[in-house]
Amino acid sequence: MVSKSLLKIGFSYHRKHLLQTFLILIGIALGVAVVVAIDIANSSVSRSFQLSTESLTGRTTHQIIGSQARIDEEVFRTLRVDLGHRKNAPIVEGYVQIKELGMRTMKLLGVDPFSERHFRNILGRSSSKFSSGALTGMLAQPGKLLISEDLALKAGIPTGKNLTLFFGNRESQIEVYGYLKSQDNLTQQALSGVIITDISTAQEILKMGNQISRIDLIVKEGDEATLKVIGKILPPDITIVTPQKRSQSIRQMSQSFELNLMAMSLLALLVGMFLIYNTVTFAVVQRRKMLGILRSLGVTRKEVFTLIIFETIIFGTIGSILGLGLGVLLGQGTVHLVSQSISDLYFVLSVKVFDVSSFHLIKAMGLGLLASFFSALFPALESIQIAPVVAQRRSSLEGYTARMLPRLSIGGLVLLAIGSAVLIIETRQLVFAFGGLLFIVFGAALLVPFLSKIIASAVLNVFHVRSGLGIGLALRNVTRSLSRSAVSISALMIAVSVIIGVGIMVESFRYSVVDWLKNTIKADIYIVGVNREFPVIETSIIKRLAEIPGIKEQYIIRSFKIASGNYAGVSVMAQDREIIQRKWIWKSGDKKELYAQFSGGGVFVSEIFAWKNGMGAGFGNSINLMTKKGLKTFPVVGIFQDFSSRQGMIVMDSRVYKKYWLDSRISGIALTINSSVPVESVMEHINQKLAADYHFMISSNASIRKAAIDVFDRTFTITIALQILAALVAFIGVFNSIMSMMLERTREIGILRASGMTRIQLWRMVMAESGIIGGLSGIFALPLGTALAWILVYIINKRSFGWSLDFVVEYHHFIQALGISVLASLTAGVYPSYKIGKQAIVDALRTE
């Protein structure tokens, strides 16, 4: 441990440099806050998911589900009547929006009153007391709904009131008949995202006809015989799964998204670490003399080392605590953003919770301390090099740095090489990708001193900046005090390269999506059935549409999401002809051959699907799909770029689909119209003529594109927040460095002032130096930022999502980054130059 008096000496420095101490704390706090916020967001999503999906399974051990998320009621009847199986419950489920709850999305659960009590621990109350018996009675009321008591009280919904339910564009008024409650805590929470009706009411609202969503089963553990018997009566595309397995496969969908966010937050912590490193380094170098004296007085190396580490750990603790508080605050916002994105992209979260546990806080605290420790490690190691002499010459440090330059640079190159090698490893483990990225960043940081020296010397020589003043003095200061300036430059470089990298990545993404939308959304008007998982419109609509003037062509589409099996979540699309202009990642032959194979039973799969299922470009790929006629194999004849389905998409010819799924319903129609007719008037016409008879949603080309871009932008809001954070940290970092560098040179500046340097000249010198630091950081950040972007686009996104994006580098990112770094450093120079300009020369000369 460190002795008390030593600590006192240590902290007297920090008391004198309160501003810098404060900035250290902010550095740690910001880094920790981002990690906490994202961590909370992710685990809140997990918890919300659990509440939205899993907790209402109750005592269910197995579920019967169809690959198209639909089962004919017939199956249920066979199970109950022919097989005599008792412990089963038919379920109808879907999502509706409720106007009285601010259009909140709720899960609508249609259940059978008599089967329920075996399954879920839900009590009902219509008049007097909550009981399970009451629930049965309440569910016997057709056309009414039940909601959780909690929710009803919060939203002020009395029984007898009508709620307005929206399903697609369809609106229905349903009376609240009674309240629900559960003694089981998890179920109780889950109830707040659910409304319950009887089966037929749910079928009516969700437009499901005589179909149900699934059948819940209770089968004793190990009773394989019963499962086998049940399995025998099921049609081929209907299977028995456990609820855990089912929710797992849904949950997996968003996991790489969340992992990616986590990694991004660690990137923020990394930037924060540089800030700490920067500040601690200055705190050590500024105390070289004091530490030298202490050493000569008999303080051991170990004690000096411990002192520096100990100080930082104390700051780490305070900073992390601040970070925790800030993180929980930020977390409110991120939870909202992340669950919004997850709902947009993956699955509906009908229950949203804010999940903070002491585990998050302990984890983040540990991370903050660890980050502080590692950031302080190098400065602390440097501190023990300090020889026990009274006046350590600055030159010996600069000389040391100069001698170390080749070694540092070689070390940097080695790190870059290791990083690249790690990145090349073909693996889906993101750990490798982020590890490689870290190596690249550290490698680049080690090259900074050498490159700064080269560039500054080149400028000095090329422009014959002979003058020792202004730019010349500033340039010399930067190159000849590399032990200081390189630290600032590399810290700023890293922060700015994160800004560039993330910026280019988002831009590339956006560009790719916009380009893809342009080629994919080709029709003028889209009409789709209202159910997201299983859209259906009656076929007769085709004839009716044909009567509407202005419509040129109809492209008929059948689509659904696979609900079970290996490909759960994957969209299947059957089309009668191609309207989309696909961008092929791979295709089996020229266009004619390709479509011939397609009509003959081949399928196209999206890039993500291919990636997830380990398909490469080449012949011989095929997939097995569970059809109404059993398991069938389809050759994959093309892989196309697609951003619509995160789970992947399979496209087949509608004749092929009809043949194997025995289904001639349609899900949607894409319409092209005569160019002379305005889109709006055709849409209005369709609504007028057909809305009463069919249930569909109608959108124009423009609105679909806009909605897609909106989803995209929402998804990247967090990323942009990260950019802003990086900019903030960058600013604090340079401010801190410039402040420290100026403080360290107080006496030097006193001499300059005494020799006749005016305040304006001093100001110019400081600003020039700040500008050079900013300029060099900005210049170095350009290649590093581009490299980061490249890694993010081609390696991290590719490996976490399976998307191949066009790499779009727009020059405005570079200009913006250069601008940010120069502006940040110039702004950062204002206060220090003002402060040292104001200092009395006599006082400056009295310091050492």
Partner: protein, 227 residues
């Protein structure tokens, strides 16, 4: 050149208490002479030099240097005055560590704008005179203490100011080196006809001095008898 302090008072606030260094001090230094200020540590030698040099201002009273009243000048004008009329030599860390010996020597001149070859030659000549022509491109930190002080002398002289103020220029040097630095300083300053005021507590400087003053309890007295 006239150097005169009239009824100058200077005090510092220390821990809320006023600590008088000088009250109503009046003194005049002879132009073109080598004056030595003696006094115990804390007696106010540096304070006096700083007042003359215009890097510190008196609480009251006037400081005249040449025709100027420093006490009434703006900070900007005082700065220009220092640049053109004064050369400073301090006890230690006189030099800008990031500039070479040559650059340090040219520094003050450069504050007034870009330098031409002629001025470079002047600086080189002075470095020759202080015996450092070989070390022109060295960095200050690679020089010995004595060499560093010689650069400081060269710098103080390079822009040809009429007055040189030296605050313990040999304070950090060993006896031998200190002596040779003093010798050099005295020789160059006499050759060039400058006024030099040097504050020191080493009696070493007396050997070179024209005038000697001692500061004691806020008063300054010429010393004629040195025994």
């Amino acid at each position: 050149m006239r150097i005169e302090l009239r009824e100058v008072s200077k005090s510092y606030l220390e821990g809320g208490k006023k600590h008088n260094i000088f009250s109503d001090l009046t003194v005049k230094f002879t132009s073109g002479c080598f004056s030595v200020l003696l006094g115990k540590s804390g007696s106010g030698k540096s304070t006096l030099l700083n007042l003359i040099g215009g890097i510190d201002i008196p609480d009251s009273g006037n400081v005249y240097v040449g025709n100027e009243n420093l006490s009434q000048m703006s900070d900007y004008n005082r700065t220009l005055f220092r640049r053109r009329k004064l050369g400073f030599i301090f006890q230690f860390f006189n030099l800008i560590p990031t500039l070479t010996v040559m650059e340090n020597t040219l520094l003050i001149r450069e504050l007034d704008g870009p330098v031409d070859k002629e001025q470079r030659d002047i600086a080189r000549q002075i470095l020759v005179e202080v015996g450092l022509e070989e070390r022109m491109n060295a960095m200050p930190d690679n020089l010995s203490g004595g060499e560093q002080q010689r650069v400081a002398i060269a710098r103080a002289l390079a822009y040809d100011p009429p007055i040189i103020l030296a605050d313990e220029p040999t304070g950090n040097l060993d006896h031998e080196t200190g002596r040779s630095v003093l010798e050099m300083m005295a020789r160059l300053i006499r050759e060039k006809g400058k006024t030099l005021i040097i504050a020191t507590h080493s009696e070493e400087a007396i050997a070179f001095a024209d005038d000697i003053y001692r500061i004691e309890s806020g008063l300054i007295k010429p010393v004629s008898d040195l025994t």
